[in-house]
Symmetry: D5
Subunit: 150 residues, 10 copies
């Protein structure tokens, strides 16, 4: 079973059961961002969470295959566009275009030469209530990796 087939089965079962990502993440016992990314084929779930997700979705005789597929290391971002045209996703390109050099200046000033890891990394999405209109709050947190010198 490919990751693509896995994702299609998960989305179909989610739709059929009218389950939310919040429900599925709760079943997995892990964060929503990580569980969704795994269901979309971008991350690998640990065995226990994979079993819980597959069981929760009620996939019949495909349950075991989905459970295994959820645990495999994926080839990531295979379907991602170089620059997405979807307005929601494009805004993250725009933020990088406008603030990329600023972020670079400030990380180097604070930490020296190195980067924020995108591997030893987590991401959180929250609603921030605001009388002028609620806001989306996204927190990215990655280990600082200093450049090796040898």
């Amino acid at each position: 079973m490919t990751k693509l087939e896995m994702t299609e089965l998960v989305l179909a079962a989610k739709f059929a059961r009218q389950a939310s990502w919040a429900d599925i993440s709760a079943a997995a016992g892990m964060s929503d961002v990580f569980v969704v990314s795994a269901c979309l084929g971008q991350n690998a779930l640990p065995a226990e969470a994979a079993a819980k997700v597959a069981a929760f979705l009620g996939l019949g005789n495909r349950t075991k295959d989905v459970e295994i597929a959820l645990q495999l290391p994926p080839k990531k971002a295979q379907e991602a566009e170089t620059v997405s045209k979807d307005p929601l996703i494009y805004r993250f390109f725009e933020i990088t275009y406008v603030y990329g050099d600023t972020i670079k200046e400030l990380i180097h000033e604070e930490f020296g030469d190195g980067i924020m890891s995108a591997i030893d990394f987590d991401l959180k999405i929250e609603r921030e209530e605001n009388p002028k209109g609620d806001r989306v709050k996204i927190t990215m947190c990655g280990k600082f990796l200093p450049y090796n010198q040898w």
Copy 2:
């Protein structure tokens, strides 16, 4: 005075005075991310902050020109690469490639059809201490904009 000349003068003065971005932001009385982005020609400072930054940097007879240039609406991201090859900046493209669809699913589940604004938006960079190696914490916060229906 173009934004490019302005940025060169600011960087040269910053170097000559051994000033940090923290110093310059403190002089401006605004957040470091916003002040740095303005100094790099990606945002427009309000008049008061522009005057403070220009004065702080000690730019001699160019002070007034820089003060004005800092307030003009910039043509943003003129120098940005479509996909940056700098490892620190590239990681933000990678995060969008790997987590873009996940973020989209979760914002729509929580808010419905719409986007996180990148204009009514702020961004914060912090050090998160961690015994296994300190972490970079980046918080993005933008107003949720629902799609108009008419």
Copy 3:
């Protein structure tokens, strides 16, 4: 049901019934531009309009699925070319190439640093009668969003 399947069903039913977009929009009780964009999978209809469109088209046992699909937040512009080669659509790229900087200068002169929203936005297409040949009149109207300063 994916948005793509939904669009195919809508177009087939429209063809079979010889319905115009004007008919479908009238059935929906919303503007033609918005209804067409939703039928093409680029916007999400409110529940009531979705029900009316699906009912109007007479889709048999697919009616309910199309009704639901019309309400889901779409991944927009998935099929759009970076630069379309269709002459009608290309002209909008050309207008942006020729008049983009002009529009930018004039919006900034009038409103300061910020943008016209493409989300809190509407668009109208009209025939303007003219003895030398009728004209197409397109009106775009979006909320001015000033850049946040923090």
Copy 4:
């Protein structure tokens, strides 16, 4: 004198005189969009308007050259990016990505096979006051050109 040099001289004189585009357009006696586009090297002014703009800007011994340069047919869009990264300009690409097929459907339904001319064309930018935040209103109007059949 190239169009590029012409534009630089115009912008420098505009800045030195603290003139607005509204002032310059008034001096020219033509619409602001057309005059700005000509000053940015994207259109050719008629002789009379060119003379008025050059005179108004007070360009000393370059006045005549600018007056001539403003009248020449330009090589248009030479500096335009295939897809601009500036957020204000990008939104027009986004509108085309999201609404391009919708516009095509509706123009064909109303007019048959053909296009909206981008040559026999005008464009207007207005402020639309709104208690929830003023809006930018852009009106494009171009002759409908039916495809020739032979």
Copy 5:
């Protein structure tokens, strides 16, 4: 019936009947270039010519559908490559690369600022006999459209 299906049916019938494009154009009573472009899904035939082409090709129970499809405004150039690698087609890109600026200079010298329309336009292909080897003669003729000034 999509334009793609229509084209496939036309080509299959043309092959089965061993008809030439000259035959089909004669049946349509219009020029070969226009009729071929319509059969390839790049233009829309008037009703009468569409009926004649469909009848001539002998398409059985698909005749009516093809007749209708031939009349619809197409999404043009969907399959065209940005730069074709086919040698015959590439030569037209090469001619534009080598002679594009020359054509621009001479049209502007003769007509002023404006373009040759590619919509109010016709194209003719002829054999020119020549003892050193026959030549292909292509004549393009489009209305001159002067840039609007407003």
Copy 6:
């Protein structure tokens, strides 16, 4: 002297003398398209025509160098964009996108497998008077080259 310098000198002299391309071509005794393309660095003039053009333009002590430069085989299309954004030039890309396959079908039907040469080739631009608005008529004529079989 590079071709670029040559072109700049020619254009400056043309401007200073208020000479038209028609004047320069007449002086050269060759067609306007060929002479302009040579002046723009896209073709090589025969010695006699090169001498006449250089003499006609009155280039002082650069006359000889321009005369030589006009005769050198150029690296063609160095400055040409892959797809030009200038509306006049773009239309030729559009014509190729819309009519390329049609032209291919008809040349093969008439001549067999082969191409129209863009080397053993000439091009003519004419005004065609028309009460509904004059038309630009472009005639391309190139030797048919059959594919070698060996």
Copy 7:
């Protein structure tokens, strides 16, 4: 029968009969390069050679269709990548990158302004024995086409 189907049938029959390209070319009575290029859908065989190839391959009831398909003028290079990543094919891009300007200088020095035809052209591949390791010898031979002057 499309050229693609033709190529698939030829390759399958070649595999089934364990025939080499040398065998097929010998049956055709033409050079291996030309015959292979025709079998891959890049050239058109003369009728006699097409009949011999189709007969030799033993294609059963598809023989006639393949025989016809082999004679049609192909749309060439439809499947070719702009720059191939296959190491064997890439080396020809590399040779053009490294030696392209050199070849241009030497052809112009020897022949004047013009090109080597890729249409009136043949190509040969040979093994050159060499004690330090055999070498591949490729000979390209095309008619010199001088640029037309008019």
Copy 8:
């Protein structure tokens, strides 16, 4: 001295002395293709040939620098376009597009899995006289490199 400056000096001296590439290659005592490629900064001359070329060109006080520069390993193809628009050079891309897979099939049939080296490689350009028009003959010869198996 960069390779670029070296090439400019060589071309200027070649022009001033009216020397041909044949003259310069004869002075170097090596093949014209290799010497020209080295003069254009694409290969490194052995010391003796570099000294002869520099001396032959009569470069005054830059002689020694050019002699050294001619011997340095170049960064090759820095100025080469991904796909050249110059007609002479483009034909080599076209040949690769049309015949690339054919060459691959025949080299593998003759030699097995591997490539023709573009490093242990030479290239020759000759005039082939022909009553129907002389031909350009290009011979490429590179060591066959079999893929390592380990």
Copy 9:
């Protein structure tokens, strides 16, 4: 049987038998990197190893076909992206971006003008134990190929 079908069969059998690449390579009696690359369709196995791999995987009546397919020279890198977005693979692009010029300087200093062969080449992947976290060690070893001089 295409290389793609071969790879699918191998991966399915590997999955069904829960075999590791280490198992398959051991069966082949060759290095893991080479055997995996052949199973993924990027290299050709010698006959003996191909037979062992096919037999080991237990492919039933497809065994012989897979055995043959494993030995054919592949069209390499057909599926590879120009720049992969998968984080593991991207890092090798990043290493080339950051260290490419450095590697070039040092190979030329040590060996003169030439390259490291990617054909007469082998690659090894090892785990390097390390108390601060194990490391991936990749060794590439290719014959130095000096540029031919002729």
Copy 10:
């Protein structure tokens, strides 16, 4: 002083002193790869090594500036091409194209989901003597970073 100016000064001094990279690395007391990459503006030297390099090169009154510039975190890979056309550098792209998926399979089999770091990373270049021709041996070693799960 920008990194670019720094690199130019270092290369000029290296040339003037006829110093090798081995000499400069020895002076720095660090590995040649790291020191060269820092001199080329791709890494930041520690203070002590920067002082030694600057002193060794004998840069006169620019010594201090170069010493500082060598320590700054660079914007990496600014000048790198997306895919280099230089044959030596291109081979690393080719290796990634041909072996990228193989490396991915084997790292995941050995380590699970994660990547080889290109930051906590070192690289070594060695000559491997071989009677059939010496070989270039490149060793890359980076920390394995497992994907975070949260």
